[in-house]
Point group: C2
Chain length 346, copies 2
């Protein structure tokens, strides 16, 4: 029979597809026993009881063990981790992340998140970055929306605009001196699709963080895609963010999905800095009346759940939308955003 060491070595090739790391590293293999008839059995300790990927991991484990000389059969039993063990497993995923390049110095990292799509995360991120920059601060934007990248278009940055130096990737620089890293700057055209599964998305975000020469920054803003899957997990687990700025809209459907994001942020022990409600209302240019097109605000309720202040309510402004579509977000001036900046700096 192979030794325990040999069996553990073989099992270290079995990857938990969710965490992207070996089941041995994650301490998911316990009570490995074998008998002289060649039967090996062990306990596969899952991060989530009833994890839908457990059969795949068990079948992978069976394969690698059966390949060892002398092993006639493999029995995999399942159990689940305690909360503490689970935390340790997820923390371990984190330790594999490249550290921020030694040439970089970033003072504050803020992720802009919603959970929900189309609420204007990218526009808010871009306007906020511009307003911070106007205050004389050094600002960067890491576009973590790999499949729906919008930041370069807002600044009129062309595809293919990223260069590499020996020490890492060089961000693109906008007219007023903002540094931007985004997948769309690496593509041949702005509408080339990025058809990637989760592990590739996480890997790209980690590279944008760890292998970019950001230099000295006062603020790094991270524009997150919708959802609470790979991109959000990677940013929250792999990048030492200082907090999350939540973006929402008045619609009840949005509010529900944003609440999911809030619960995720809390589960990962990250701080919500505050809440911005976008597309809040429309001022009719002809009669000057305010129309709550997407319904009444849900900001108060979300702010309460998040334990954070509702910073601002931004109107639907066709002039801002047109400037953004034209790549001229740097020309946008908004009193609401300037007030938001004051609150963020505080």
């Amino acid at each position: 029979m192979p030794s325990e060491n040999e069996m553990m070595n073989a099992l270290s090739a079995v990857i938990d597809p969710e965490l992207g790391r070996s089941i041995v590293e994650l301490k998911m293999v316990r009570d490995l026993i074998w008998d002289s008839s060649g039967v090996v059995s062990f306990n596969l300790v899952l991060t989530i009881p009833g994890c839908p990927l457990k059969d795949q991991m068990a079948s992978d484990a069976r394969k690698v063990l059966m390949a060892l000389p002398g092993v006639k059969d493999v029995v995999v039993n399942f159990s689940a981790m305690t909360e503490a063990e689970k935390k340790a497993a997820f923390a371990q995923g984190r330790s594999a992340v490249p550290k921020l390049n030694q040439f970089n110095q970033v003072r504050q990292i803020i992720a802009v998140m919603s959970g929900k799509g189309g609420v204007g995360k990218s526009t808010v991120t871009a306007m906020l970055a511009v307003a911070l920059c106007r205050k004389g601060l050094k600002v960067g934007i890491l576009d973590a929306d790999i499949t729906g990248s919008s930041i370069p278009k807002l600044f009129g940055l062309p595809s293919g605009g990223l260069r590499s130096a020996e020490q890492g990737m060089l961000p693109a620089v906008t007219g007023i001196g903002l540094k931007v890293v985004s997948i769309n700057l690496l593509l041949k055209g702005e509408d080339v699709p990025v058809i990637w599964r989760g592990p590739m998305i996480s890997s790209a975000i980690r590279q944008f963080w760890g292998e970019t020469l950001w230099g000295k920054l006062d603020y790094l803003l991270i524009d997150l895609p919708p959802g609470t899957s790979d991109a959000a997990l990677s940013v929250m687990q792999d990048i030492p963010i200082d907090g999350v700025l939540l973006v929402t809209t008045p619609q009840g459907l949005s509010a529900m999905v944003v609440r999911k994001a809030v619960h995720m942020i809390r589960q990962l022990n990250i701080r919500v800095l505050g809440l911005v409600e976008n597309l809040s209302y429309f001022i009719c240019p002809d009669n000057g009346k305010r129309y709550d097109i997407f319904g009444p605000s849900h900001s108060g309720e979300i702010a309460e759940i998040a334990g954070a202040p509702a910073f601002a309510a931004l109107p639907i402004d066709p002039v801002i939308a047109a400037k953004c579509d034209a790549g001229r977000v740097e020309d946008v001036v908004s009193a609401e955003i300037d007030r938001l900046v004051e609150q963020i700096i505080k």
Copy 2:
């Protein structure tokens, strides 16, 4: 030294994290050679040249081979698949999918997609399903938006509303008889976050398709989340959809991201049935004037790229939004949606 068979057996435990299948199954291992000094080398043929996950796979492969008795060193060389080989590899991923349950008979499967978030995919899906149902057709909705599930809320379906029978999961049934399967029907509360990486998302979608007792349906509509990642890939590769209904909004930023989705759909050889522009304009209730709040339409341009007709332009309607937020999408009557249904049926 171990035999070629033993080495291939060991390597079959190494998983391509993107495709979620073994590198041996995917025929990514070629030219396996070894010498008497214990050095094994092989070619790892990647689906994408320069795949960022190649180092992980190489390191996993090294581990399993080094664990075999007699192996002293492992050398992994990289090369890339031809287009034909790549197709075969992706097709193989497909074959692992559960077939639609034998008790089911589904005539037409339409995915509703945008690429962009917040354009109203779920609302359009729900209104379309209701309108088809009113025509006496049997209709189901598969909610493939795992992290931002909205369909149950639109129909006022409570969390925890899915049951299981011996042959599979039983869909929830709405007031007018629509069948719905959605992750939010399995959660303890509508705002519980689903913090899952890609493989879990794909696995859930495959279960919603293959392990649900849909019964006899004229139309199954699939509500896709934003993005061109796991959910979109799983629906397009694992479910035999008849075509995609695209949803967009007038904003230029949306149009760019929707074009990404169109290119993805074409790359996967799937048909775009037509295009719906949502949030097209706002009719002021006081002066009756039309305001193109999100800018001029980009429908024509996208329809041309997609090679499909622009079916409809839906206004921003606060009354519809309020009914949707209240879970009463079945009370919505819309002449535009009725016309859309006629075009879909054709």
